[in-house]
Amino acid sequence: MRQPDGSSSFLTTRVDAMLGWVRKNSLWPLPFGTACCAIEFMSVVSSHYDLSRFGAEVVRFSPRQADLMIVAGTITDKMAPVVKRIYEQMAEPRYVISMGACACTGGFYRAYHVVQGVDEFIPVDVYVPGCPPTPEALMHGILKLQDMIQNGETQHDRLKHGKPDTTATAG
């Protein structure tokens, strides 16, 4: 840090706090958009809501270049193996936001071909309710996830480092 007299000093912090700060401000989302929520996700990254204000606008459709999967839309039994495979292709640490009622619980499709929540097969960090959630709700979800990353409270921390389970709900 620069002192008033022009000399420089230094800042002390813990490594994991530093890493958390870096990671939370450079999330690269992979939008796993299947349905209506994906259209609202497009609104979130477009000019009006502009997700880049939170450092998470670099949308990547390649799982190997992304660390945040946003499951936006209904996941069906036919789609489930694809979601799982793409999740597994992402590099760690990786995070999941479940956007919308369908991804969280199956929504009002309590039916023969619909997964009743993606947490049936992948760990979810933040659940964003709504059908579809408003853009503000998704942003809240991302901010919530940023806090969790900073504090070491994500599913990744729990699975890899045995931290307690603290899933969050935003919106």
Binding site: D77, K78, A80, Y112, V114
Partner: protein, 569 residues
Amino acid sequence: MTVSSTESPTQRPPLADPFPEGSVAAVEQAADGHTVLTVDRSHLLDVLRRLREKPELACDLLADVCGVDYPDREQRFDVVYHLGSLEHGHRFRVKVPLGEDDPVVPSAVGIWKAADWFEREAFDMFGIRFQGHPDLRRILTHEAFHGHPLRKDYDPSQRWLLTEKDTMAPRWATEDQPDDEHMDTVVLNLGPSHPATHGTLRTVVRLDGEHIVKAECEIGYLHRCFEKMSETHGWQQVIPYTDRLNYCSSMINGVGFALTVEKMLGIEAPPRAQVVRVILSELSRIMDHAVCLGANLVDLGALTNFWYFFQIREEIYGLLEKCAGGRLTVSYARIGGLAHDVPADFEDEVRKLLDSIPKFLDDVETLVTTNRIFRDRTEGVGVISGEEALAWGWTGPCLRASGIPYDVRKAHPYMGYENYDFEVPVATTGDTYARYLVRMEEMRQSLRIVRQALDNLPDGPVITDDHHVALPPKEKVYTEMESLIWHFKLIFEGIPVPAGEAYGFTEGANGELGYYVVSDGGGKPHRIKVRPPCFAIYQAFPKILEGLMIPDAIAILGSLNIIAGELDR
């Protein structure tokens, strides 16, 4: 032949006995304007062929093929063909009753190419087998699925798990090709999670060098059981589900469904509701075209336009949110009218939109319409002739880009569309560029309709006062015994839609959006079959691709505007 006739709203087709003696078991003029023929399966192909080929019938559009299950009937299933003639404007419905132990009918693929996927769907959902179909396998559900979910005895919550081992790859993709060891051809999988598919579409292609020699689509990745869910809900409760069919223009879906049920009930929404429906439907059409073109242009590398188009959407969202409370999935239409009246500043808000939207359209036109790169990538790419498109069951902007001016708003006007002065844009080349031009012009025509509708927006109620259909106002429920009783009956027993059936169709953003609704007189629908326009369009996609390259495939797919929610339901 027995003919029982009621006065029909559309033109009566000539029935001067074009069918051989004894081939048609019954002819009936249905209240929805369709001529309903009941045919034994042994005569089916003969009757269908005559319907298509006789010049006085000329049914060139096969709109839909679907099954219906009547578990109490001796012949349990009906296979229903919905046919239309663009030239004469008449509509036919051909029904073939089938027993449970032998549900087999001959396939109509040889008469209309459009039958291909519709028959596969009927097989998947009901187990009806179509003899002579080239590739009769499941289409919406996955390969580990057992049973036929739309049969009435199938439990709606019975799921079957698909593991990672099962992948729905076309048979030819895994077959060995003699050339494969020399790497002459390569099989490439696009989707179902791919940036350029904008949804859950999957296409498998075989490439020879850079050229596609064979392609096949796999769908159903968003099959969320709309039709089964609507059989377990009351009539009004189906409207939120319809919103999620084509979620880019949800208002149009709800209006189409409400109109169909209103037709069965014999009621009409009040004039104010009709005009508000027109205004919001046309704005929804603009939203739909905006997301289609925006996404199509992004795929071709033109990102700026995406921001312009999404700004249009955001501004319309603002209006919809004020009216309905929701941005994307509005659930604003009701059977009999609208959920509630529009806000007091509705007119001012719409006029603001009428001023702002053309500016964004002009910006896009300046950047794109004469852009050399865009034209090089789209002109002459993905050409389909009008005749071919119609044979595949295409409707909407994609058909009009191939030179056939079929628009339900003009051909079969509803909600007073005959009173508005607007043009139906038509292009002749049938390529990707033509589809872009048609959609751009349609947005301007929709603005014209909105302006006229707004100038003539009547006052009055927005929902019918027929309390068999609409809930009485809340204040009356609290103060009047009779209203309380109506309220109670409607909530507990549902709307008494008379037993019968109707096919209602409107011009959705992608084409003819049809609802085939069957009621058994109970408080819930017996069957609702949606005729999704992009289902018919997407089935022609593999054929268009042959001989083209992958970048062309991306450009074409974007221009067809395939919405997974509507495609897979």
